[in-house]
């Protein structure tokens, strides 16, 4: 990437707003990239988000705070003793160092075991791993946050960052798609976000009952309702891969550059160290090269069935 000083932001010929310029490389990303040994952290708080989704807030002792500092978009490996280990996105506030928060959906044996743990239980934690959302590169731009289902988990730290640093960004919009109303995550916060004067929130359900007065359909159908200035927008996506594929292409179709669309990818991850190869997506290791990728890198790979 050609480094450009942050002050040399160009003006678009089509818009008065600045286009997103290449910026100088950000500060080094915190990572425990060689760690194979979990640290034991105790669950300080447990929140049941939906029938099968739980948020676990782990207390980080002061002697470990430096090791567990992270950026929005990174993940940890969580180990349930006697059951196994899984990669879980960090879903909490990245500026808070005495706690690290993960939101887990019960899918397989390890994640199910995690959702059954309670306050005071101990979890093994390795991390943080992976690259963060390129929030620095989005400064000055409009930001679209698009979440599908539990994809809201790794995007929640993004929203918290955007709200804390609101003056650094243009229009900020959250488009959130969920299967049904009962599957909506972080409902109290979602209500707060809807009331926020500087954050546009639209929610679309896959199906709804008659009490639902919001949108029903697919999340891309919300794009015309928020209006997107393609040259001035950066998008952050997370959700099922088919949703990332369809949404990324919809954004490109309306004129956004695929380089300014970023997605957090998930594949079967085991070591998180770029060693075992389980999480490979063609030439990319999700754990080491991701999980956040620009859409121009992953779109061609997602079309290859064998991958």
């Amino acid at each position: 990437m050609r480094p450009v000083a942050e002050s040399s932001v160009k003006s678009s010929a089509l818009s008065n707003k600045a286009v997103i310029a290449e910026r100088a490389p950000a500060a080094p990303v915190p990572t425990n990239a060689t760690s194979m040994t979990p640290t034991f952290l105790r669950i300080a708080e447990r929140v049941q988000e939906t029938a099968d989704v739980v948020t676990l807030e782990l207390a980080v002792p002061s002697e470990h705070e430096a090791a567990f500092r992270h950026r929005p978009g990174q993940f940890d490996m969580l180990y349930v003793f006697g059951v196994g280990e899984v990669p879980i996105s960090i879903s909490g506030d990245a500026t808070r160092h005495d706690r690290v928060t993960h939101t887990v959906r019960a899918v397989g044996p390890v994640s199910t075991a995690l959702t059954k743990l309670g306050t005071g239980d101990v979890v093994g934690v390795r991390g943080p791993f992976g690259n963060p959302w390129p929030l620095d590169a989005a400064r000055g731009a409009d930001v679209l946050v698009i979440a599908g289902g539990i994809g809201l988990m790794p995007l929640r730290p993004v929203i918290l960052h955007l709200l804390r640093n609101r003056g650094q960004f243009g229009r900020v919009s959250l488009l959130y798609g969920a299967k049904r109303r009962d599957d909506l995550l972080f409902r109290d916060e979602l209500s707060d976000w809807r009331r926020h004067p500087d954050l546009e929130v639209r929610v679309a359900l896959n199906e709804a009952d008659r009490d639902w007065t919001g949108d029903v359909g697919f999340v891309t159908q919300l794009l015309p309702k928020v209006g997107v200035a393609p040259a001035d927008t950066v998008a952050f996506l997370c959700g099922p891969e088919i949703m990332i594929r369809a949404t990324g292409r919809a954004l490109v179709d309306i004129g956004m550059s695929a380089r300014h669309v970023h997605a957090s990818m998930e594949r079967n991850m085991k070591c998180a160290l770029g060693t075992c190869g389980h999480c490979q997506l063609g030439p990319l290791f999700i754990c080491r090269d991701g999980p956040v990728f620009s859409f121009d890198r992953i779109d061609p790979l997602m079309s290859i069935r064998e991958l």
Binding site: G84, E85, V86, R105, V107, G108, P109, V110, S111, G148, G149, I150, G177, A178, K179, D183, L205, N206, E207, A208, D209, R210, W212, T213, G214, D215, V216, G217, F218, T220, Q221, P224, K225, G239, P240, E241, I242, M243, A246, E266, N268, K270
Partner: protein, 163 residues
């Protein structure tokens, strides 16, 4: 409908995105098949099984497309809003609706008489082609959305082991 009324409808129609780029003579022609309607919240604009005698271009408000699913009750599978088209079943035999459409809020729309418009499309195939082009866009988009919905989009991947 009087000439004045048709002119008024044509004026309203011109501001609807459905006719963007359409020759003004065709706008005036199809406006002759339309009239302005207002529905209160809760009103059904069309019901499953009824003959598809009309369609709507929504100007204001929200409409829920619903189906009754035995054992689950009434299910909303899509919502439509301002600027969108409601109803394409009038285009193809047997001209029958396969879902309900309920006004979620107050709805203002242009309601088109289906047989009137079919006659005009048959009489002038250029008019017919321009209409079909505009109907196909939302239909193709909604077909893609329906496929994604059917794919149980939000069912999570279940990894082979460990998760």
């Amino acid at each position: 409908m009087s000439g004045t009324e048709v002119r008024d409808i044509a004026d309203i129609l011109r501001s609807h995105p459905f006719v963007a780029g359409l020759d003004d003579e065709i706008v005036k022609l199809v406006a002759g098949c339309a009239h302005n309607v207002v529905f209160p919240a809760g009103h059904y604009l069309l019901r499953e099984g009824e003959e598809a005698t009309h369609f709507h271009l929504l100007r204001h408000g929200s409409v829920a497309l619903e189906m009754h699913v035995p054992g689950r009750g009434t299910l909303t599978f899509q919502t439509l809003g301002e600027g969108e088209l409601l109803g394409a079943n009038w285009l193809v035999p047997p001209y029958r609706w396969y879902y309900d459409a309920r006004a979620v809020t107050l709805v203002r729309a242009l309601e088109f008489d289906a047989s009137c418009l079919r006659e005009k499309c048959e009489a002038d195939h250029h008019v017919g082609y321009e209409m079909m082009k505009r109907f196909l866009v939302p239909m193709v988009e909604r077909l893609q959305v329906a496929r994604l919905q059917v794919a149980h989009l939000f069912d999570e991947q279940r990894y082979a082991s460990g998760s």
